[in-house]
Amino acid sequence: MSIYLTSLTAIVGRDFLRFFNQRGRLVSALVRPLVWLFVFAAGFRAALGLSISPPYETYINYEDYIVPGLCGMILLFNGMQSSLSLVYDREMGSMRILLISPLPRWWILFSKIIASTIVSMLQVYIFLMIAYFYGITFNLTGYITVAPALLLGGMMLGALGLVLSSLIKQLENFAGVMNFVIFPMFFLSSALYPLWKMAESSELLYKICAINPFTYVVELIRFSLFVQLELSSAIIVFVCSVAFLMISIWGYDPQKGFIQRKT
């Protein structure tokens, strides 16, 4: 096996070991979307009427509508959580061990993104399984076709997490990420309400939602659960992934990046 693959398996393996060592993390990662599904969605079901819009072919319950958004929520929180762990690694020093390996830095960062995405995907599938028993089901093929969408979306959010981790100086600043990145990205997207609904109440908010890349992650997941490819979303998510990865490579460059004074 080449050094590239060996190191990739090492980084993915370590993230898995850490994930399973922190059992509370799995529980909290699942509690968040499940509370939205069981409590929030049940409450709003009566308040919100959703007309038929693609990929849906009939009227749907609100719970059905927000499941793809909640899958996106898991990817979003996990992507940010992994960037939190990178800041922690840097403060604790273990980041140095990664950065002094003889591999190109872009590969190390790419491997970190893959590792965090695989952990996210595992959580999404556990969530979809619970949703299945709750009565929200998709075609069996949908559970397969959603995998590449989750991979791409997870990579975009993981790469965004890397960019943030190269910008954040200290662990304490991470609370700011919650307020200024995670919440706006989640609420200003199509995760909880369709964009046309948002346009009805505010044109400005609609425009913000329409330029939020997280909206396209959610839509990519939504369509792929119905075995459809939303090509424009796929392209936007792919382009954003590459852009975030390139910024993070720059951010972690020892000569040019943000990281120089923080190692």
């Binding site: 096996m1 080449s2 050094i3 060996t6 190191s7 398996t9 090492a10 980084i11 393996g13 370590r14 070991l17 850490r18 060592n21 922190q22 604790m92 020093g93 273990s94 140095r96 061990i97 990664l98 950065l99 002094i100 390996s101 003889p102 591999l103 190109p104 020892p254 000569q255 120089q260 004074r261 190692t263």
Partner: protein
């Protein structure tokens, strides 16, 4: 003979503050070189430059003849590092930590497991292999880190205040072991410290202060029959930390 470490006219500044000032230093293969300097002398910045965690404003650094900036891969694969800060994953076992690092160096399978046993034996840590790092005492954690730095059999070892916070007996035992490893394994060792008792009479000694090299030679020459501590204090003009 190739030098283990060659540093040539290295300068580095953080803003207006110059932290490394015209550092030029060669360490021959198989030499134990003590880098002695008070806290804030620039030792850790020099280590960051030697490990490519930062690229100095000016100057070149070669590890086993490979320029760390232009040719980082062979340079880094010849380098084993123990940082001042502890860098083990506390929730994993010693074995898991070593295996993770070995894989980052491209090692795998049986070879890697054998090498882990070998280095843990060398550092008298074999019986700690399956203990979680969090449960180890400071001395054992340090030994585990040194073992990890040796996994890929690097020619050059960098240790940045590796004995910080340890009791005198443990410090002496680790320092003695590192001298032995330099001799028996032929490693080039750069040992940063602010403690004179860790420096041997026959070691190459470099005294660093305010980012400048004040002395570079054999310890007994620099001490010149007197006490190294006195020489060090008179050069740096401060008490030993």
């Amino acid at each position: 003979m190739t030098h283990g470490i060659e540093i040539s006219e290295v300068n580095h500044s953080f803003g207006h503050k110059r932290v490394l000032d015209q550092i030029t230093l060669s360490i021959k293969g198989g030499t134990f070189c003590a880098l002695l300097g008070p806290n804030g002398a620039g030792k850790s910045t020099l280590f960051s430059a030697l490990t490519r965690l930062l690229i100095p404003t000016q100057g070149t650094i070669r590890i086993q003849g490979n320029d760390i900036h232009k040719n980082p891969r062979p340079a880094l694969s010849n380098l084993g590092v123990v940082f001042q800060q502890q860098t083990m994953d506390l929730d994993l076992t010693v074995f898991q930590n070593l295996r993770y690092f070995g894989k980052l160096q491209g090692m795998s399978g049986k070879d890697l497991n054998q090498r882990i046993d070998q280095v843990l034996n060398l550092l008298n840590m074999a019986e700690r292999s399956y203990e979680v790092v969090r449960t180890l005492n400071g001395g054992h954690r340090r030994r585990a880190e040194i073992a990890r730095s040796l996994i890929h059999d690097p020619k050059v070892l960098l240790l940045d205040e590796a004995t910080v916070g340890l009791d005198p007996e443990t410090r002496k035992s680790i320092t003695d072991d590192m001298h032995k490893i330099a001799q028996t394994e032929g490693k080039t060792i750069l040992w940063a410290t602010h403690l004179c008792d860790e420096v041997g009479d026959d070691d190459q000694l470099v005294i660093l202060h305010n980012g400048q090299i004040l002395r570079n030679g054999q310890t007994h020459e620099i001490a010149n029959g007197g006490s190294l501590l006195d020489v060090f204090l008179s050069l740096t003009g401060r008490d030993q930390a």
